[in-house]
């Protein structure tokens, strides 16, 4: 069964460093998402991406964040200058249609020191 895959599973970085989290959505899916979950808190929406552009973004998704789909398969989340409060589990998700089921990756745990 096709799955959303994410790399790395865990990344530790120093505050101020740039981080890129990678996702390979399911191949025939058209809608892509990033969510994050700070330890002990709820899953929060960051951004959605459709037709090669951001369709929605939350207040969390400020200028430090960017997303890209550089090659038609990968979907990346970049954090330009990480802060301590960026430490969280980041989930990528995709779905085939507007009303379809959302499929999640296993998450990338980011620890900012």
């Amino acid at each position: 069964e096709p799955e959303v895959t994410q790399t790395p599973s865990h990344q530790v970085t120093q505050m101020g460093q740039e981080v890129i989290l990678r996702c390979v959505p399911i191949s025939n899916h058209l809608y892509f998402y990033w969510y994050r979950q700070i330890l002990g808190q709820k899953v929060e929406f960051l951004v959605s991406f459709y037709n090669n552009e951001i369709s929605e973004k939350s207040e969390i998704f400020d200028d430090q964040f960017s997303v890209e789909r550089p090659d038609g398969s990968n979907f990346t989340l970049k954090i330009r200058s990480t802060k301590l409060e960026d430490s969280a589990m980041y989930f990528c998700a995709s779905k085939q249609t507007n009303t379809g089921e959302l499929f999640f990756g296993e998450g990338s745990r980011l620890t900012v020191l």
Binding site: V4, Y35, K42, E44, F45, S48, S55, E101, F104, G105
Partner: protein
Amino acid sequence: AQRVTQPEKLLSVFKGAPVELKCNYSYSGSPELFWYVQYSRQRLQLLLRHISRESIKGFTADLNKGETSFHLKKPFAQEEDSAMYYCALKKMTGNQFYFGTGTSLTVIP
């Protein structure tokens, strides 16, 4: 603004007992409601959605618009039901899902 509330962070029931995980929402439009489950060391996965009106793994959930609730129920809990359960709402417009804080269910053998 839309909001999903799961009042119980932790819930423990004995095997064979009924279980109900509560979910309340606030949204002025017609929402689409979902339950997602995360078993230990696995990814978040869809358990059920209100529009399909199915029973999955013995779980059901009914959307009650009067009470703005979408509680998840199972008449006889099994050990393998132990997991983290998230209620989620999708608005009529847009693609954003709003998640509750989750309920950790433990089924005691």
